[in-house]
């Protein structure tokens, strides 16, 4: 494996029972880059993140992170690797019984022997980086969607990971929060030297901040390229997705029987 690539996925297939979800995926995430995995809802994007994080095992192919095959690791080795990964869940997944401060401090308390004084300083620095130092005493229920996402981001970078995975970081955010979260992803990746994988269906926001894009459709990679290549792409699926067209390779109608027959019009003939 190339040392420039933090994550490499080769010929990956995955199925839930007999239902195939992903087929023949090849993907790399070079160190220090933000890559996006795009596609419609239910196309297998989140499953891909769970495979990278070792929460699922591939039916075929390989997933390697920092040179280690994730699915070959035992629980202890997998947990060691996960300490170097951060994950931002769709709605933050903050621990609702803990304050913002305790949420960010959680991993430091679980995995390190740092004193409370050091943890306090580190947590305030992480919260300052996402602009929420003043909200450290609030409970998750008191935060707006955008704030919760930023706290989750501070929690994801708490132990300075090498890789952060974002599961739909833009879902349900207002335009201001959208821009803030987008810029934070880019800025944290650059300043902390991380590698970021963003799973999203928000084309416009993500094309502004990412270095490379993979388009997933029906479990396979349909297209890939830099944001400029994607914008200029003539592929029908990419064109429909980028321009948000109602009908195209992804049909508006769910497969159904003939409309006329369903309405009983044939009987009048």
């Amino acid at each position: 494996m190339s040392t420039d690539n933090l994550v490499e996925i080769r010929n990956l297939s995955f199925a839930y029972g007999k239902r195939p979800i992903l087929q023949g995926i090849n993907l790399v995430a070079p160190r220090g880059k933000v890559i996006a995995i795009m596609g419609g809802s239910g196309c297998g994007k989140t499953t891909l993140l769970r495979l990278i994080g070792g929460q699922l095992r591939p039916s075929k192919g390989e997933v390697s992170v920092a040179g280690q095959l994730v699915h070959d690791l035992d629980q202890q080795a997998l947990y060691q690797l996960r300490r170097k990964m951060g994950m931002l869940f769709q709605f933050g997944a903050l621990f609702t019984d803990m304050s913002v401060f305790d949420n960010v401090a959680f991993q430091m308390r679980e995995h390190t022997d740092l004193s409370e004084a050091v943890i306090r300083d580190l947590v305030l620095m992480k919260l300052h980086a996402v602009g929420l130092r003043g909200a450290s005493k609030l409970m998750p229920a008191e935060l707006s969607g955008g704030m919760a996402r930023r706290v989750a981001l501070a929690r994801a970078v708490a132990l300075d990971p090498m890789l952060i995975m974002y599961d739909e970081p833009f879902a349900g955010l207002d335009p201001i929060s959208l821009g803030v979260v987008g810029n934070l992803i880019r800025r944290l990746t650059d300043t902390l030297g991380l590698t970021s994988i963003v799973v999203t269906h928000d084309v416009h926001e993500s094309l502004k901040i990412v270095d490379y894009v993979y388009f997933v459709s029906e479990g396979a990679i349909e297209a890939e390229g830099t944001p400029d290549q994607i914008r200029a792409s003539g592929l029908p699926f990419v064109h429909q997705f980028v321009h948000g067209e109602e009908d195209g390779p992804v049909p508006f109608h769910y497969p159904a029987a003939d409309y006329g027959k369903d309405l009983g019009l044939g009987a009048h003939k």
Partner: protein, 264 residues
């Protein structure tokens, strides 16, 4: 007709296989919880926090119910014993009923509806909001960090709550029997003291409540952990916790009583 019979047969078969599969899954979950309990004992403050939320917060319902059950026992017991002229034995009746049966059983039923349902809803919602997933991804084992401390908190809280229930019940019986009706205070207490045996009655009652605590908490945790991550899934799991725990308590009580008080 044949096809209908075949379908019925296949549906029953599916149900049975599903139930056995679920039972196996639950046993595996319980075994994992026990095996990964090291963190709970190494960091006992995690267990203490849970004792507060499932034990201490259940105190009011336990204390009030215990008092009323004892008062009713006092009234009913007096009426029956009076017929045989042995109302002096009221203390014995109240204490034995509570320590052997009502204390462990009623306290466990109350614990299942107050704390068991709360545990299921909490774990189910943690799953639905991806908090358990987040723990996994932070390299923190959710069974060791979230499930095991709640399990041991339940096992520790239950006998304490049952003891408090029984104590309050005896006090309720005293209030009605001695203070209100006027049964002789000396015989009330001395007959109770003479008749209640520590090993046969008290220890057996404690064993029962430990078993009930084990069963209720294990059921509540499993139902929460196994709940489909939707609003409907969590609400169904919560209902199942209360129904399954209550049936388990009553069935276990019969089995334990049959073993403990055989030939006493």
């Amino acid at each position: 007709m044949m096809r209908l019979g075949g379908r019925l047969f296949s549906r029953i078969g599916h149900r049975v296989i599903d139930s056995i599969w679920r039972l196996g899954y639950a046993s595996r979950f319980l075994a994992l919880t026990l095996m990964r309990s090291g963190t709970s004992f190494a960091r006992f403050n995690l267990v203490i926090r849970e004792i507060y939320s499932s034990g201490v917060l259940s105190l009011i319902i336990i204390v009030v119910s215990g008092l009323f059950v004892g008062m009713v026992l006092g009234l009913q017991g007096y009426e029956t014993l009076k017929t045989y002229g042995s109302e002096q034995a009221l203390g014995v009746l109240v204490a034995l009923s509570l320590v052997r049966e009502l204390g462990p059983v009623v306290a466990a039923l109350l614990f299942a509806s107050r704390a068991g349902s709360a545990i299921t809803a909490e774990i189910g919602l943690m799953k639905a909001t991806e908090q358990l997933n987040a723990l996994e991804m932070m390299a923190v084992d959710p069974i060791a960090r979230v499930v095991a401390p709640r399990f041991w908190a339940g096992v520790i809280s239950m006998p304490l709550l049952a003891a408090i229930f029984s104590a309050m019940g005896v006090f309720g019986g005293y209030l009605v029997g001695v203070v209100l009706i006027g049964v002789d205070e000396g015989s009330f207490w001395s007959q109770m003291q003479a008749a209640v045996d520590v090993r046969h009655d008290v220890i057996n009652g404690v064993i029962k409540s430990v078993v009930f605590g084990f069963a209720v908490t294990a059921i509540a945790l499993f139902e929460g952990y196994d709940a489909p991550p939707t609003a409907e899934g969590v609400s169904r799991a919560t209902t199942r916790t209360v129904v399954t725990s209550s049936l388990a308590i009553l069935a276990l009580d019969f089995v334990l009583t049959a073993f403990m008080f055989k030939g006493v």
